[in-house]
Assembly symmetry: C2
Homo-oligomer: 208 residues x 2
């Protein structure tokens, strides 16, 4: 799980400043948790703050998670072939819009984006490897640990996830049922490495 | 399934020439089908010709497909968090090696790589959406169609895949058994849209 090639991690306020500086004068949009993010064909979005939930749905009515885009990660319909491709603000969300034509004309911008996309790609591949695990218990355990490592805020000896993922979100992400997720989360809490705080935010222990 | 933002497709010989021109003087390595590709930590590979099979394995002994890198797609351990991360030449394979430090110092190279990585990312996300389908029949049908669209050579009214994927490869890719793959492929042949030629290469009809 050790990425070889990442940029130094910035605290989230600092990162937001850096992104705004780099992409000065670019339209930035704010979305509140739960809102749907529009996906213009001529642009991609880069996350400044918050987490975007990227999903697809099937004819059967089932849904599946395609990814979670956090700070400095790009997403957009130009980066996907999957149809339908739907994005929702999982937390309050600040996004910067980059036009494809600008990226093609600005090598320095593309260089930043390459690193950002590499980060998203590693996550997508990690999700793919999780989903391939036969036991739902392994899938859920590894998925929660991935979330903690990618999006958790370190505090004392634990990682706190500043968003609410419902059991149904987790079930969709992992191709299982809400009932199974609820049972396994109970088990993980008894094992002592996972808990929820007063605001129903996920708290993970022993990963730091 | 329509990518919005791709480069014009080049015939595979032409693409190889273009890649060699762009990345002149870079080490190029040849692998024969079946060989394992080494994964130096300080570099990524870009495919010039052929297809690389990227897999992981679990403690249970199961294997899973993480992706198929075809012409102009990058891969390498710097682009992955998954452990183990294993790459094998599925066909004869020509690869160009790019050092991470070169990419960081060459914005124009990063710009090319961004487009190439976007292509890989779209495929990985597509695999993720396939795996989430409940019915194995839907998974296999959509996976074979993805392969045809990405790697098939158009000929008359059909797409021919110039590589041999065993039923076991397909079973690993889709989290099912070899027996199920064999049964479903029999069904798809009877449906008339899929066949094998004398060399056991996959042939898909009605996708063009």
């Amino acid at each position: 799980m050790t990425p070889v090639w990442t940029r130094p991690t910035l605290a989230s306020g600092q990162l937001r400043q850096v992104l705004e500086q780099i992409y000065r004068d670019r339209p930035m949009l704010h979305f509140t948790a739960g809102q749907t993010v529009p996906l213009p064909q001529d642009s991609i979005w880069v996350v400044c703050r918050g987490i975007a939930l990227i999903t697809t749905s099937y004819e059967s009515g089932d849904e599946a998670l395609l990814g979670l885009a956090g700070p400095s990660m790009p997403f957009g319909s130009a980066l996907s072939w999957v149809m339908p491709y739907e994005v929702q603000a999982l937390t309050d969300l600040d996004l910067i819009r980059l036009k494809l034509v600008e990226i093609e004309q600005t090598p320095l911008l593309a260089q930043d984006l390459f690193l950002m996309l590499a980060q998203r790609h590693r996550q997508t591949e990690m999700l793919l490897s999780l989903i391939g695990q036969r036991r739902v218990e392994d899938r859920l355990r590894n998925f929660l640990q991935l979330l903690g490592r990618e999006f958790g805020q370190p505090e004392d000896q634990l990682l706190r996830l500043n968003c609410r993922l419902t059991h149904q979100h987790l079930a969709n992400a992992l191709g299982t049922t809400r009932v199974t997720v609820t049972r396994l989360i109970g088990q993980f809490r008894r094992e002592g490495w996972l808990d929820f705080d007063d605001q129903r935010h996920l708290v993970l222990k022993g990963l730091l």
